[in-house]
Amino acid sequence: MSIVLSNISKKFGQFSALDHIDLEIPEGELVALLGPSGCGKTTLLRIIAGLERPDDGKVLLSGEDKTDHDVRKRGIGFVFQHYALFRHMTVFDNVAFGLRVKPTKTRPSEAIIRKNVHDLLNLVQLDWLHDRFPDQLSGGQRQRIALARALAVEPKVLLLDEPFGALDASVRKELRLWLRHLHNELNVTTIFVTHDQEEAMEVASQIVVLNHGKIEQKGTPTQIYDEPKNDFVSQFIGHTNVFHLENDGDTWLKGSSIVLDNTDGITAHVRPHHIGVEKLDENASSPISLKDWQHLGATIRLELTNDEFKGTAKVIYAEMPSDQFKQSRLKKGDKVALFIRQAHWFNLEKPHVPEAATNF
C-alpha cells in the first residue's frame, strides 16, 4: 500500500511538532524516519497510523483519503516502542487478539485462528513460547511477539515506533538484520522510527531525515550519506569534520597546501575517510602532527592537530584502513601531510532565508 502525506501539520499547544510535511512512500519500501528526539518523527508515525489527528493536511493510503478514518479502519499494524503486549494474556492469546475481535461475519473459525497464530509464531521463531505471559519474556522476544501480533491482522502497512530502542546492543544488531530479511520475505510497506543513524542506514531502503518538524532530506542510504542536502544531514549521518573557513580555528586551511577539490562555499564538511594522511620526515615543515589514534576494528581513527595554532585549532579526525596504518608506521607525535579528497560545501555564513519570507 502506498502512502501519501500532503501538507501535514500538527501543533501541541505552542509547540509545532510537524510543519507542512509532504511525503510519498511507494509500496513495498522499508522506510526509516530518522531524526533527533523531539523532531516529530513519532508524531508523524502516529498520524499515519490514525492514533493522532493532524491539525492540517491529508493522509492517503493506496490513493484513498483516510485522514478522518480512525486507527481500526486503516489496515495498519503498529508496533509500540515498549511493545504494549497485553500483560494478562498468553503469547498465543496476544497474537490471536486481532483475529478474535473481528465481527462474527469475517472472523475465522477457532481452528483457522490456531493455525494462523502458530504460523506467525513460527515466522518469528518463538512458537515454543506460546503459553508464556509477556513478563516471562526477554526484550527481544517481546519485540518479536509484538511484531507477530501486528502481522496477524494482515496489515497493508507496518509501522514500528523505535523498534530496537529498548534492547541490548547485541540483540539489537541481530534484530535489525532479521527485520530487513523479514521485510524482504513479506514485502509489506514498512515504516520505522529511529534516532540512530546507523540503524537507519543498516535496515532501511529509504531514509527520511526529520528535524524541527520538517523533512531535511529523503533518499536511499547512499544518497543521504554521499550527497547530504544541507549541513544538518551531513552532520547527523555518520561522522564529519566541520571547517568554517572564515572562523579563527580553521582559517589556516585556506592558505595551506591541503587540497580541496573545489571551494564553492564557506563551510566544508569532510568525512574522516576522505582525509588522506601521509607520514613526513622529522625535519619536514608541516604544522600538523598525529596527536593520538584509536583502533576501531577494520579502520584506525587518527586525531590530528595543528601545532602552530595550539589552543585555537581543533582536532581533525581522519580514518584509514588498519593495514595501511601498519604499513605507514605512524607514531604519536609524527609530522604528517594531509590531503582532503572530497568535501561537502555549505554557505552557512549567509543567513538562510526561507522562501516564503522573500515575498514582502
Binding site: L51, R72, F80, A84, L85, F97, V101, R149, A150, V153
Partner: protein, 287 residues
Amino acid sequence: MTAITQEINNPKTSVTASALRDPDWLKYGLIAVALSFIFLFLCLPLGLVVFQALSKGFGAFLSALSQADTLAAMKLTLLTALVTVPLNTVFGIAAAWSITRFEFKGKSFLTTLIDLPFSVSPVISGVIFVLLFGMQGAFGEWLSDHDIKIIFAVPGIVLATLFVTFPFVARQLIPLMQEMGCEEEEAALSLGASGWQMFFQITLPNIKWALLYGVLLCNARAMGEFGAVSVVSGHIRGLTNTLPLHVEVSYNDYDVVGAFASASILASLAIVTLILKTLLEWKQGTR
C-alpha cells in the same frame, strides 16, 4: 571458622543484620507498645461488642436480631449498598477514565472535586441534601407539589450515601490507570477492536483487582455510614433507620443487647472486609 564460612555464604544478611541490629530492650519495648495499643484500642472494644451482645445469652442475642425493626434496618442497609455500590462503580470508572485518558480544561479541578466528599464532614453532606430537598429547601416546594419524598425517606438515604462513597472507586483507579498508560488500549484499537471490546478485554482485566478493592471499600462505607445518613433519615423506626442508626437508637433506649447485637453485625462486616482486603492486596501483589 564456622562463623566465617557463614558470613561468606550469606554476606548480605549478616551485613545488614549487624548494621541494623537494635538493642533487645528497644526491640521488645517497641513491639510491646504496638501490641498493647492494638489490644487497647482495637481488640478490647471489638471484644466488648461481642461480650455485651451475648451478655444475656445467645437466645437474647438472636431475638434482638430477629426484631422487626432490626430486620428492617438490615434490609434498608443492604438496599442502600445494593443501589449505591453499583452506581458508584460505574461513576468511578467513568471518572477515572475521563481523567486518565483525555486532556481537557478543568481536569485538575475535577480531580479535586472527586475528593470533596472525603474532605467535607459527612454531617455537612447530609445538611446539603436537607437544604436542597427539605421542605424549606431549594426544591422542597416543587417536590411536595409532585408528592415526591426525598428527605426523611429512602431516596434521601441513598443520595447521601452515594455522595459520601463516591470517591472510593475513582481514587483506587486513577493512579493505577495513570501508571499503566494507554499503549495497550491503543494496541487493541490498532488490531481492530471496538471501544467496548477494548474496555472489556484489555482495560477491565488490567484494573480488576484495584476495582474490586475500591468496590469493597465503597461497600464497607456505604453500609457503615452514620453522619450524612443520620441527618437525612429522620430516624423513623422500621422505615428509615439503617443499621448504624439502629445501633444508636437502641442504645439510647437502654436496649444494650439490641444495640450491641446490631453493632456486632457491623463489626463482623468490618472483619470480613478486612480479610477480603488482605486477600485482594495479596492477589495484587502476586500479579
